[in-house]
């Protein structure tokens, strides 16, 4: 690598965030980890530095404080080449149906905050004439289901935001936007859930796919497991008249 590249991970304490940062570090990138809890982020930063000897810096960020997002972007020591956004909150669907504060938190964390933040980066990237934006959305956003439709609706909004941004950036020029839909991943978010093995992957696999899609191949929308693309195709094809009675 001739010019030192920089990756910014938003949600740097998540399992996928850690795996993604490590994957890029192994390829020689310098890493910026942004997270709400700087202590936890520092623990991950130390891990990456011990394993790879690359430079890792930690930046405190609470994405829900949206009035500070512009200041965060401006205050970074360097504008990264790639930004990967892993901000998300599954929440509890059932509780959120009556708990408006929780419902708001789910909608803001999965849709509002990441969209606003990535929007800011897209402007800076466009000014510079280069940059890659990776938004980690979810297959849950492909169709609303009773078991998680608040999360799903927010992720659907985020997916549409990324789709529109990609469209605008592609017409204008050099900035790339990638949407990643991981499906089930063995992480803290899914700990204790009974996940179907053939549809579930490890965070390392998601990280590899993010790197491949963003840096090696010119992919737009990535289902981490090919099986999910098929599963969601089927789920989307079911007529609403039937779908509304299903327990999925």
């Amino acid at each position: 690598m001739t010019v030192q590249k920089h990756l910014l991970v938003i949600g740097g304490t998540s399992d996928i965030g850690q795996a993604t940062a490590l994957c890029y570090a192994r390829a020689g990138w310098h890493i910026l980890l942004a997270a709400r809890d700087p202590g936890a982020a520092q623990r991950n930063a130390d891990d990456i530095a011990a394993r790879t000897e690359v430079e890792v810096s930690v930046h405190t960020l609470d994405v829900l404080k949206t009035d500070r997002l512009a200041g965060f972007v401006a205050g970074l020591p360097i504008l990264p080449d790639t930004v990967v956004c892993l901000v998300g909150e599954l929440g509890e669907q059932e509780r959120a149906q009556t708990d408006l504060a929780l419902a708001t938190l789910i909608l803001r964390t999965n849709f509002e905050a990441p969209s606003l933040l990535l929007g800011l980066f897209s402007e800076r990237f466009q000014e510079r004439g280069s940059g890659t934006i990776v938004g980690v959305s979810s297959v849950a956003g492909d169709r609303g289901r009773a078991s998680n439709y608040l999360y799903g609706a927010a992720k659907a909004g985020f997916s549409q935001f990324l789709s529109g941004l990609r469209n605008r950036m592609a017409i204008a020029g050099k900035v790339r936007v990638v949407t990643v839909k991981p499906g089930f991943v063995r992480t803290r978010m899914t700990a204790g859930m009974n996940l179907p093995g053939f549809l579930t992957v490890d965070p390392g696999k998601v990280a590899d796919e993010i790197y491949r899609a963003a840096e090696e191949k010119q992919r737009d929308v990535v289902y981490v497991s090919r099986r999910w693309r098929f599963v969601m195709m089927v789920i989307r094809a079911i007529p609403e008249r039937i779908f509304k009675r299903l327990r999925l």
Partner: protein
């Protein structure tokens, strides 16, 4: 409650799992609960890593803390696997000084069992190559233990089976290697006497171990292949195999034992055939030097995922004893004779030279260690009790990391350091706090 077993799938006990996400969360868990034990990746064979009430899983403690290439000092959280250290550092020219027969153990587990490798006769065990560690005590305090700080706790925790506290992180010094290859030599021993003689004469080798054909009888009793090896230098590699990369990539798992492996496939006849072929193949290569990747050299069984399932649903135990030098030849011959008469089919029977250890109840002592797998049957435990009498009579002991069934009498006779550990547990009120099914069974 979750039903939990060790690597041997025997015994099984219900226990409540605790999954801390970071080391900082552990002291609080420890201070609030009784009857708990830490568990690494569950590679202890028996009941050592099943908490009497709670089992603290270390999967979330999987971050590395720091590495200094100048000093080769590596600090990691206790749930980091040796496999992780190996894949991260072997290609950078660093290697753990002690590795056991599987790379799928955690650093915390390696300390708690004071695991030994093929170089124990020269370099000692995992605990002998450990700089320091942090231990969460029963009162919620965290202390640093080393050869200069909290020395009593340091010695009691090495080989202490998690009974002094929960290890949070540890610092080890890695070995510098010039290549990722081992220069291996195979020697043939026609019986037990020559196997012992061969192991003794190869004591200057860094790594040495004997595979014994446990079904051979009569004049062939104890016939063996003795493997010695050194880390290959750049020159070794260039001489033997100039075509190879100095640092090969880690190997992938290629085989997997299916969930319902028919255990009747593993019988006296099939193992006899296997052993014969294995012995002849090894004998044909005797004397020649060959280069072998670190992974298959140190961890031949790791390439077969779930190999513990070949012993079937009832599970198996591994009987690993160490017999002091003086009586080793006679007692080992007697044990091997009884095993071969019984016709038990142990795939991998291993004989190895050990030296003294420094842990309070650490397993190794100067002598020979013999490890054999036995599928669980109705008559097995009575048979093993008889072997234990031979072991105790010769001043030997059994390895707690493998044990699932020894008696208190066997244990107490084998471990003279036990009163010291009990004292420390009383002083630090660890006795009620840290209790595994094994420690309860053995009254530690």
């Amino acid at each position: 409650m979750t039903e939990l077993a060790g690597w041997g799938n025997y015994p099984k006990f219900p226990t409540e799992l605790i999954e801390p996400r970071a080391p900082a969360a552990v002291p609080r868990f420890v201070a609030e609960r009784s009857g708990l034990i830490a568990r690494g990746s569950g590679r202890a064979y028996g009941d050592a890593a099943i908490g009497e009430r709670f089992t603290v899983l270390s999967g979330g403690l999987n971050r590395m803390r720091s590495f200094d290439p100048q000093t080769a000092l590596l600090t990691v959280e206790s749930g980091v696997l040796l496999a992780d250290i190996l894949t991260t550092f072997a290609s950078r020219g660093f290697f753990p000084k002690v590795v056991p027969g599987t790379k799928f153990v955690t650093v915390g587990g390696a300390i708690a069992a004071d695991v030994h490798g093929k170089n124990h006769h020269r370099d000692g065990g995992f605990g002998d190559n450990l700089e320091s560690f942090q231990l969460a005590l029963s009162n919620g305090e965290t202390v640093t233990c080393s050869r200069s700080e909290n020395t009593e706790l340091f010695a009691a925790t090495i080989g202490g089976m998690g009974l002094t506290g929960v290890i949070l992180e540890a610092t080890i010094r890695l070995l510098r290697i010039e290549t990722g290859w081992l220069r291996q030599e195979t020697k043939v021993a026609k019986d037990l006497d020559s196997a012992i003689a061969e192991l003794e004469s190869s004591a200057s080798a860094t790594y040495s171990v004997a595979w014994i054909d446990c079904l051979a009888r009569g004049t062939s009793l104890g016939r063996s292949l003795i493997y010695t090896a050194e880390h290959a230098t750049r020159d070794d590699k260039d001489t033997l195999r100039p075509d190879l990369e100095p640092f090969p990539a880690p190997r992938q798992m290629r085989l997997c034992v299916p969930g319902l492996f028919p255990s009747w496939l593993l019988n006296r006849a099939s193992v006899q055939v296997f052993n014969e072929l294995y012995f002849q193949r090894g004998a044909s290569k005797a004397g020649a030097q060959s280069l072998i990747h670190w992974d298959p050299y140190f961890f031949p069984l790791d390439s077969i995922a779930g190999w513990n399932r070949i012993y079937g649903r009832n599970g198996f135990v591994q009987h690993q004893c160490v017999i002091p030098f003086r009586q080793a030849r006679v007692v080992l011959a007697e044990i091997l004779d009884r095993v071969s008469r019984r016709g038990s089919a142990s795939f991998l029977t291993v004989l190895k030279l050990l030296r003294e250890s420094n842990g309070v109840i650490s397993f190794p002592l100067r002598g020979y260690t013999l490890a054999m797998d036995f599928p669980i049957t109705e008559t097995l435990f009575a048979f093993l009790d008889e072997l234990d009498e031979l072991v105790v009579g010769a001043g030997g002991r059994l390895y707690l990391a493998k044990d699932a069934r020894q008696s208190r009498a066997t244990f107490e006779a084998g471990y003279p350091g036990l009163p010291v550990l009990r004292d420390i547990r009383r002083h630090t009120s660890g006795k009620e706090r840290f209790v595994s099914r094994q420690s309860a069974r053995l009254g530690i």
